[in-house]
Each structure stands twice: as structure tokens, then as C-alpha cells.
């Protein structure tokens, strides 16, 4: 699929990072801030208060089990609202720190609903959408990394799914930008049924990168573009961010949700 590489433009007004109470925020914020810096965009945090929690809290037998203490205690709507507000404050602090370290403008928006749907509705056509991965409990023990930029990303890998589409080209350009800003390796995951197609797409990808002054990248062939296959390839590359050419926003909610359920790193959606 030949394209005039000089015509490919990536215009990004805002980098929206969507988070809820089940999201792992650090890597997503780091990636979003790096993108905002690299693309000259505004960093916008979107905290989505899970509507289900508020509804559940109205039930007479509503109880919460502490994630650290394993102790159950009754909760009501007021408790959940206070907890959500505190969570928003914590995200605001993290967002502020990430933005300040890279000197990018930032805001935090709060919405209610379910995170994927709310994010898709919130993000505009010129916005990049960064979705944090969902997790039940954090495994790693936080280590202080005072003063260090991109503590999670540096010396790791940014992976981009490249299927030769214009969205994939834009995803590759954005991935290249992030890799340069954060000092990461770049991995290009190419879905292809056979070697011929892989070689052709690889040449395309290399041309895209060359047009942006980049050349070093790892190219990985995968048999398909389903989330599980792509996730395995990304994990093998130790990817900390996955650039996903998502296509149109309409009707993408379920696909994105399925993707997020499988991946172990934040996903950047490129339309």
C-alpha cells in the first residue's frame, strides 16, 4: 500500500489519558505526558467515576473489602463519593507531577460512566486517547525515583501495530515521537499472513520512520491483529506502551474494552 509519506500528518490537540479506579495510572500518565511533550499538545486527564459503584453503594447490604487488609466493612453512597473524590485528587497530583516534569500544560476532567465509553465520548477527532491498563492489585513495590524522567519507559520499548493503514502510519509516527522523547526502543508489530506481506509492510514502516528521521526499530511479524496475539508480541518485546490504530470511534467500545482486558501496558488509540 504505497502512500506519499510526506503527506502523512499527525495533528494532535490534546492527549487524553483516561483512568478509573481500576486503572494502573503511572505508566499511562508517563506515556501521555511524553506524547504531549513530543507532539506539542495539551495533557488532559479524564477520571471516570464508575457509575456502577454509586449504584451498588445504594444497596442495603453494600460492603467493601479492603484490598490491603482483606477486611469487609459496609459502605454507602457518601463513602463511595468521598473515596472517588480522594482518588481524583490523587490522580490530579500525579498528573501535575508528570506534566510539570516535562513542562506541558495540563487539565483534569471528571466524568461518570464506564471508562472506555466515557473516554471515547470525551476524546475529539484531533485528540490522542491513552487508555491505562486495568488491574486488580498492583504487584510491583513502588521505588522512589526522585527527579528521573520516564522511570518506567526509559530503556524499554514502545510498540506500534502496523497494518499499513493510514491510521497505522500515524500510530507509527506517534510511537516514533514517544520513543525519541522518552529514550525508548521502538518495536513495530506487523500482522501478516505470510513473509511477502510482512516484507512489504516492513518496507512501508521503514519508509515512514525514515521520513521522520528515524531508522532503528525491531520488526515483529504476527499472524493476526487480534488483541491477544498483539499483546503476546508486545509483551515479548517488553513493551511499556502499545500504539493501536483504532480506526473510527463509533462502535469501538467493546473492542477497546476487550483489548484492555488482555494487554499488560497502556494503549494509545489512534484514529
Amino acid at each position: 500500500m504505497a502512500t506519499d509519506r510526506r503527506r502523512v500528518e499527525v495533528k494532535v490537540r490534546r492527549v487524553v489519558v483516561a483512568l478509573d479506579t481500576a486503572s494502573a495510572p503511572s505508566e499511562a500518565l508517563e506515556a501521555a505526558a511524553g506524547l504531549a511533550r513530543g507532539l506539542g499538545a495539551e495533557l488532559v486527564g479524564l477520571f471516570v467515576e464508575d457509575q456502577r459503584l454509586l449504584r451498588f453503594a445504594e444497596l442495603p447490604f453494600a460492603q467493601e473489602l479492603g484490598g490491603a487488609t482483606a477486611r469487609a466493612h459496609p459502605v454507602n453512597t457518601a463513602d463511595i463519593e468521598r473515596a472517588l473524590k480522594a482518588h481524583a485528587d490523587r490522580l490530579r497530583r500525579l498528573l501535575s507531577e508528570a506534566a510539570r516534569s516535562l513542562d506541558v500544560p495540563w487539565t483534569l476532567a471528571v466524568a461518570r460512566g464506564q471508562v472506555v465509553q466515557a473516554a471515547l465520548e470525551f476524546a475529539g477527532i484531533e485528540d490522542l486517547l491513552v487508555m491505562a491498563r486495568a488491574r486488580y492489585l498492583s504487584v510491583t513495590v513502588a521505588r522512589p525515583q526522585a527527579g528521573q524522567q520516564f522511570p518506567s519507559l526509559r530503556a524499554r520499548t514502545v510498540a506500534a501495530l502496523f497494518d499499513g493503514s493510514p491510521a497505522a502510519e500515524r500510530a507509527l509516527i506517534v510511537a516514533h515521537t514517544l520513543a525519541q522523547v522518552a529514550g525508548c526502543e521502538l518495536a513495530v508489530i506487523i500482522p501478516a499472513a505470510g513473509p511477502e506481506l510482512f516484507r512489504a509492510r516492513r518496507i512501508d514502516a521503514a519508509e515512514v520512520l525514515a521520513s521522520r528521521g528515524g531508522s532503528a526499530a525491531a520488526y515483529v511479524m504476527v499472524p493476526g491483529a487480534d488483541p491477544a496475539t498483539v499483546e503476546r508480541a508486545a509483551r515479548a518485546q517488553r513493551a511499556r506502551v502499545l500504539l493501536w490504530p483504532g480506526g473510527g470511534r463509533e462502535g469501538a467500545g467493546k473492542a477497546v474494552a476487550a483489548l484492555l482486558a488482555d494487554v499488560s501496558c497502556p494503549v494509545v488509540m489512534i484514529g
Binding site: P60, E64, L65, S264
Partner: protein, 810 residues
């Protein structure tokens, strides 16, 4: 009558002609100390015997060559001896407040320190590198992924189980909840209320059951977290070992002959494995702030080596002189550093004491300095008794401070201690400190002087030459050497001896050198020595001059002509530091009827010392025994040193006091042109006294100032003739017959000279011929006895028929 001593007996001049050199520059150096053979044998014995408690106390007067002899003896032995071990302190990783002491062959203490510094430097590079490697990162991520997967799988399974029962597992901001679901949405309260009671109960029961499972799962997650931490720690140890293992193994191979060092290196490796993070952190604080917070940073100081004692120099056993023997300077100390208002320390701040440095060799200490330092003597004894060096803080021992300190591992002590001091210190310690005799079993007693013979005089000449050469003084010609010999004898107070206090000789030569150089001489001559000696006397002469002046002015009453009953010129010496001078003192005696008491007025007013009182009691006993053996001793007498206002000590005036008493009793005037010195025993024999030269010269100076009449002189004990080293002017006056020195052996000889009356020989009743002193004394005492017996009769009363005058008149 005793004849005066010939002039040539008044001094013991050294004849320059006995020397066969022109100046001492021709003489070879003298390495030995003269006249201290006994002390030298003791020192050799003391430093060679390798037994506990055989430390040395070297005693003798200051400047007697103690240090020179001991240092020389020790040096000879120390040069041949093997160098003792180096000692280092290292961290005790198990009990940090008890640092470990390691012994290493000489020179290897510093090598270990360098090796450890190099190891730490290498680890600072190798450990961060290995933790930043892709391999390490991948393995940590693999562990994390494994546990993440385990979490997700467990929670996913629970979530799926809940979903089958139409229950959703929700993630709340701080935990989890289960909520009933209808049509894919969480059920609200209104919808729930619409359910039948059975359905509501089922849902609640299902949620309760799921909640129980969730609770178990969260607890399991806690265990997984701990497991993950252990897995990462194990990985860290494994990776660190890759960096550390071969480096430490290499070091261990280098020290395989030293099991304790190898043991330490193994402990160090374990510590590095446990604290690999310390090598990964890079302090970035500004320099000024870094000083303040340095100790809060992970410190690699614990891997350093504190070289306490280094014997890398090829000079045999150590010989250490403890110039300032405080407790800490002797036994070592643990320093502290003030940090943010507190005092902190570590094994690197352990400082060696003199005992550490002298361990395996010799420690030389001045006893006076040692005893003047609080706790130092006790500390030294403790170390010698325990045979180990244990650094203990005094402040902590006496609870003066409450700060964290260290208890360094004690170091075995094998040092020979040599104490230098004066004799009185040795004897005081012997008398009052029971430990002393156990710890200092060898005493080297240095003589104050040595015999003056042809041989020793020649050796002394070489010694003088050596001193001059060592002090970079002009050489001495023969006359100067001879004069120095004379000075040495005069300083020893004995014409047959030469002083062993070489410092005094050195001082004289130094001052003579100054005189000679000012005069432009190429070598010291006798004249230079005399001038230097005179100048030194002159500098110290203020008080002597003042006393002399007062005598000449008549303020101090001293007769040097005429004769008086019961009055005699005694002689005394006043010692002021290193300078002594003599002079006459008038002694008077009165006698009367009494009960045998001789009152020593000095003693009555507590201005007489014990030895002086003893002298008076002896002469009193002599009087009673010689003259009143068969009848009551009915004498009352008083003796006094006129115009003295401070304590009189010594018995050298007892001959003069006895002569004054005899004069009074015999009513025989004493020639005031003579002065007397000598002590007396109960048999009337005259015994030698000290300071004979100063005493004679003191009286001579007074007589000469008034004009030598030819009859003036001094009576001295015959036993003091050998001690005479009189000034040249006194000798000259004697040669010319203007001044005389009489040597007497008995009181009878003395009283004859003083009164010009024969003493006579007392008969068995203590009575002598009336024309003799003894006869007249006996007669007087017999009269007293008679009167006393008369008074003792019943009814005798003063003024009555029993009054002595009337009875005597009968």
C-alpha cells in the same frame, strides 16, 4: 693541737698534663655511659628477659644518662628483632559496635586497606552495572509478570464465578465489592427491592459466599507479595554474587594464609549481598549539605580498613617514647563526630595509643608524667595485667556522657614497658602500690656519680668530647677538659667522684662555648669554663649576695675575730634549686642548774627539723654520759641558731652546738675567727656532713670581705677531706697562710682549736684536770649536782637556810 690542712689537700685538681691530646676533636666518640655498669647490667637483663611482669623501672637523677643508655640497649636488641604484626580494625558485620581486630604480617595492614578500597571501588561500578543490565531487568519483569498473571488469573476466576451467578466483581478506590447484576448492569436499590425475598436472600447469601472467597484471595495475595519480594531479593543476591563473588574470591586467595582475614572477607561478601542497594545509590547532595547528611546515606565506610598499627618500615621492633602519657594517648581512644547535634562514631574512628604502637616492642615513659595524668597509671597497669589492649572510654566508664560508642575487640599485648623516674618515686610505688612490684620486677639504679680514677678521667675526657661534638660545640683543649673534670667532682660534692648528671656538664659546656665564641676562641679553654661557671653562679647569686651583705653591715651578727664564751660560728648551706651556697650562723649556748635538759629552742618553736633535734639529743646524751656518769646530770642548757627565722634541718651543726655548750660550761671563750661544721655522735666522734665546700667558701667570703687576718679558718670533719673541691681563691689563701681548714675527728680536737685550751682526758668519774676544758666542764657539772642534792633535802626552801648560795658558802 691539730694543724691546718695543707693547701693541696683542699682540692683535687685535675692536671691537664695527664691528657695526651691537644683538643677533644682528636678523640673518638664515646658510645658507652660511664660508671653505670650495674644499671647497664640491669637494663640488659630487663629488656632481654621475656617473662610477664619483667618490665623496667629505671631510676636515677635527671641527666644521669638513663635515657641514652636504655635507648642504646633497646636499639641494639630491637634492630635484630622481628617486626611485630600490623593491626587493623574492621567492621563486625554481625555486631557492628564490636569491631574486629585483625593481625597481619608487617606491611600487610596497609595492603589490606588498599585492597578493600579497590574492591569497594570495583563494586560501585560492577553492582549498578549488573542491576541495570537487560538480563536483570528481564528477570525482574518475568517475576512481576508471573505474579501479575497469578493475581489476574485468580481474580478473573473469582470474577467469572461471580458472573455466573449474576454478580459483578467491582474495583472500588480502596478495595473490592460484589454487586448483583441484571441485564449487564449493576442492580439499583429499587430493582433489588422488587425482587422476591427468596431471591434477595439468595443474592445476599451468594455475595457473602463470594466475599468469603475474595477475603481468602486477598490474604493469599499478601502472601504472594511477600513471596515476590523474596524472589526479587534472591535474584538480587544471585546477581550481586555474580559481581562480588569472583572479586572476593580473588582477595581470599591473596589472604589464604590468614584465616581470620578470610573469615572477614566471607562476612563482608554476605553483607554486600544483603546490602547491594547501598552500591546503587548515588548521593547527590551539595558538598556542604553532604557533610551534614553524610551519615544518613548508605555508608560504604563499613567496608574500609582502619590500619591501627603499621610496621611496614624495615626497622625491627618498635621503640616508642610516650611523651604525653595521658590515659587515651596510652591506651587508644574512639573518636566521635558531631552530626546534627549528636555524636556518632564507627570503627574507622578508633585511634591507636602508645601501647598499640609499642606492641611487640618497647614503650618508654617518664614516671612523673605518667603519674600526673589521671587514670593513666591505672590504665597502664590494667593493660599489663590483662596482657591485652582494650580501648575503654573514660567518659563512658564514669557515665559522663551517654552516647553510642564502640567496644573494639581487645588486642593481645606483648610490650616491654620502661619507666624512667627518680628514686623516691620507685620507693613510693614499692611501698604503696602492691601491683607495682608484680609488674615492674627489674629496677635499674643509675648512680649520681662515678669513681674518679686515671681511667675514668680519660674516659670522661672522651665523653666530654662526644658531648661537645653532639651539641656542635667547640672542642675542648686539655685545660678545659681538666677544669670540666674538676667541675664534675665539685658538682658531685666529692673530690674522688665525678658527677654522672651529664645534663649539667652539657649545660656548662654550652655556656662555655658561648663565652669562647664571643671571645673568638677556636677551642674551649679552662678560662672559658671558669667564666661560664662564674657567670652561672652570678646569675643565681642574688640571695647569697644579700645574706653576705647583711653580715658585713652587721645586721646579721657574725664575729670573725675575738673570742666569746658560749658562742660559735656554725655553718649552713642553703640550696635553691640547682644552686647552693653556704654561710656562717651564730650559735649560742647558755647553761645553768637543772635536771639534765638541753633545750633546743629551734625545736621548741617548731623551727627545727627531726634530724636537727636528733643531733641535739645526741650531744645531750654525750654530755650526760661523759660528765655525769656517777651523779645526777644537773644541767639545764639552751641552744639556739641566732637570727634564723625558718626551719633548721640537719645535724651538721651538732659539733658546733656541743662546742658552744662546752665553752659555756667551761667558761672558755671560743675564737670567733673560726667556724665549725660537723655532726657528733654519742661518743664524741665527729662525723661527715654534706656541702662542705659551700660552707667553707661561705665563711671564707665573709672573712675575706672583712680582711683576712691569718687566724681565720674552718673546722671540718676529717672524713670530709676527700670531698674538698674548694675554689682556687680559697686554696690560694690557705697556701699563703691567710685562711685555714682544720680536719677534726673528735670533739676534743675541735674544742681545743676553738678555745686554745687543752681538752684533757676525762677520768672514769668524768672529771679531768682543772686546766683542761673537760676538767672545767666536769667541775661545773659536779657543782650543779651538789647544789641540786642540797635543794633536794627536806625543808630546803628558796631564800631559807637551804639556799644554795649559803650552802656553797659553807
Amino acid at each position: 693541737m691539730i694543724e691546718p690542712l695543707a693547701a693541696d689537700r683542699l682540692t683535687h685538681r685535675c692536671d691537664p698534663a695527664v691528657f695526651r691530646f691537644a683538643t677533644t676533636a682528636e678523640l673518638g666518640p664515646l658510645d658507652d655511659v660511664i660508671g653505670q655498669e650495674r644499671a647497664a647490667r640491669a637494663v640488659d637483663f630487663g629488656i632481654s628477659i621475656a617473662r610477664d611482669g619483667y618490665n623496667l623501672f629505671v631510676m636515677g637523677a635527671p641527666g644521669s644518662g638513663k635515657h641514652t643508655l636504655v635507648r642504646r640497649a633497646i636499639s641494639r636488641r630491637a634492630e635484630r628483632a622481628e617486626r611485630p604484626s600490623d593491626w587493623v580494625y574492621v567492621n563486625n558485620f554481625q555486631t557492628p559496635h564490636r569491631p574486629l581486630a585483625l593481625a597481619l604480617p608487617p606491611g600487610r595492614g596497609n595492603a589490606l586497606r588498599r585492597d578493600m578500597a579497590k574492591l569497594v571501588e570495583e563494586l560501585r561500578g560492577a553492582i549498578p552495572a549488573i542491576f541495570e543490565s537487560d538480563e536483570y531487568t528481564a528477570r525482574v519483569e518475568a517475576i512481576d509478570a508471573e505474579f501479575t498473571e497469578r493475581h489476574e488469573r485468580a481474580f478473573g476466576a473469582l470474577g467469572a464465578e461471580a458472573a455466573e451467578q449474576k454478580i459483578a466483581l467491582l474495583r472500588t478506590p480502596s478495595g473490592f465489592s460484589f454487586a448483583p447484576v441484571k441485564d449487564g448492569e449493576v442492580m439499583g436499590p429499587e430493582e433489588f427491592a422488587k425482587l422476591s425475598e427468596e431471591e434477595q436472600a439468595r443474592i445476599e447469601s451468594t455475595i457473602a459466599s463470594l466475599q468469603g472467597k475474595l477475603e481468602k484471595l486477598v490474604r493469599e495475595v499478601m502472601r504472594w507479595r511477600a513471596e515476590r519480594i523474596e524472589r526479587v531479593k534472591a535474584l538480587n543476591r544471585e546477581m550481586t554474587l555474580l559481581a562480588v563473588g569472583h572479586l572476593v574470591d580473588e582477595l581470599k586467595r591473596g589472604y589464604q594464609d590468614l584465616p581470620k582475614v578470610v573469615e572477614y572477607l566471607e562476612a563482608l561478601q554476605r553483607d554486600v549481598l544483603d546490602h547491594a542497594d547501598d552500591f546503587r545509590k548515588q548521593p547527590e547532595a551539595p558538598a556542604a549539605l553532604a557533610r551534614l547528611v553524610q551519615r544518613d546515606e548508605p555508608s560504604l565506610r563499613r567496608y574500609e580498613v582502619n590500619v591501627l598499627v603499621d610496621h611496614s618500615a624495615p626497622d625491627g621492633s618498635p621503640v616508642v617514647f610516650a611523651d604525653h602519657p595521658t590515659y587515651q594517648n596510652l591506651t587508644g581512644r574512639v573518636d566521635h563526630i558531631a552530626q546534627l547535634g549528636t555524636l556518632v562514631t564507627d570503627f574507622n574512628l578508633i585511634k591507636a595509643g602508645a601501647l598499640h604502637r609499642a606492641n611487640g616492642g618497647y614503650l618508654l615513659i617518664d614516671a612523673t608524667k605518667l603519674l600526673n595524668q589521671p587514670f593513666a597509671w591505672e590504665g597502664l597497669k590494667r593493660a599489663l595485667t590483662r596482657k591485652e589492649l582494650r580501648i575503654e572510654s573514660l567518659a563512658e566508664m564514669y557515665s559522663l556522657v551517654s552516647t553510642v560508642s564502640l567496644e573494639p575487640e581487645p588486642i593481645p599485648l606483648a610490650a616491654k614497658v620502661v619507666l624512667f623516674g627518680e628514686r623516691y618515686i620507685y620507693y613510693l610505688l614499692q611501698a604503696y602500690d602492691p601491683d607495682f612490684s608484680k609488674l615492674f620486677r627489674v629496677a635499674a639504679d643509675f648512680s649520681d656519680d662515678f669513681d674518679r680514677s686515671a681511667d675514668t678521667t680519660e674516659t670522661f675526657a672522651r665523653l666530654v668530647g662526644t658531648l661537645a661534638s653532639r651539641e656542635q660545640l667547640l672542642p675542648l683543649d686539655r685545660s678545659a677538659v681538666a677544669r670540666t673534670v674538676d667541675f664534675g667532682s665539685r658538682y658531685a660534692g666529692d673530690g674522688k667522684k665525678i658527677t654522672a648528671r651529664l645534663q649539667r656538664i652539657t649545660d656548662l659546656l654550652t655556656e662555655a662555648d658561648h663565652v669562647a665564641r664571643e671571645a673568638g676562641h677556636a677551642a674551649l679553654s679552662a678560662e672559658d669554663i671558669d667564666r661560664a661557671d662564674a657567670a652561672r653562679r652570678d646569675r643565681a647569686d642574688r640571695l647569697r649576695e644579700r645574706v653576705h651583705e647583711e653580715i658585713l653591715r652587721g645586721t646579721l651578727l657574725i664575729d670573725t675575730s675575738g673570742a666569746k664564751v658560749g658562742q660559735v660560728n656554725g655553718l649552713s648551706v642553703l640550696a635553691l634549686g640547682d644552686y647552693a651556697f653556704g654561710g656562717p650562723t651564730r650559735i649560742t649556748a647558755t647553761t645553768r642548774l637543772g635536771e639534765g635538759q638541753v633545750i633546743d629552742i629551734q625545736r621548741e618553736v617548731e623551727l627545727g627539723g627531726a634530724i636537727h633535734s636528733k643531733g641535739v639529743l645526741i650531744l645531750s646524751a654525750f654530755l650526760a654520759a661523759r660528765y655525769s656518769g656517777q651523779r645526777p646530770h644537773s644541767l639545764a642548757a639552751s641552744l639556739v641558731f641566732e637570727q634564723t627565722y625558718s626551719e633548721v634541718e640537719g645535724d651538721s651543726a651538732s659539733l658546733a652546738e656541743l662546742c658552744a655548750l662546752l665553752s659555756s660550761l667551761a667558761d672558755a671563750p671560743i675564737r670567733q675567727s673560726l667556724a665549725v661544721t660537723g655532726s657528733i655522735n654519742q661518743l664524741g666522734e665527729v662525723q661527715p656532713i654534706g656541702g662542705v665546700n659551700e660552707k667553707i667558701e661561705g665563711f671564707f667570703d665573709v672573712c675575706r670581705a672583712r680582711g683576712l687576718a691569718g687566724d681565720q679558718g674552718v673546722l671540718i670533719p676529717a672524713a670530709n677531706i676527700d670531698h674538698l673541691m674548694l675554689r682556687a681563691d680559697v686554696v690560694a689563701a690557705a697556701r699563703e697562710g691567710k685562711f685555714h681548714v682544720y680536719a677534726v675527728s673528735t670533739v676534743d680536737q675541735a674544742i681545743e682549736l676553738l678555745t686554745g685550751v687543752p681538752a684533757g682526758t676525762p677520768d672514769v668519774l668524768g672529771e679531768g684536770p682543772q686546766a683542761t676544758i673537760n676538767g672545767r666542764v666536769a667541775a661545773r657539772l659536779r657543782d650543779y649536782s651538789t647544789v641540786r642534792r642540797t635543794w633536794a633535802r627536806p625543808g630546803a626552801r628558796p631564800g631559807g637556810p637551804g639556799r644554795p648560795r649559803r650552802l656553797g658558802g659553807d
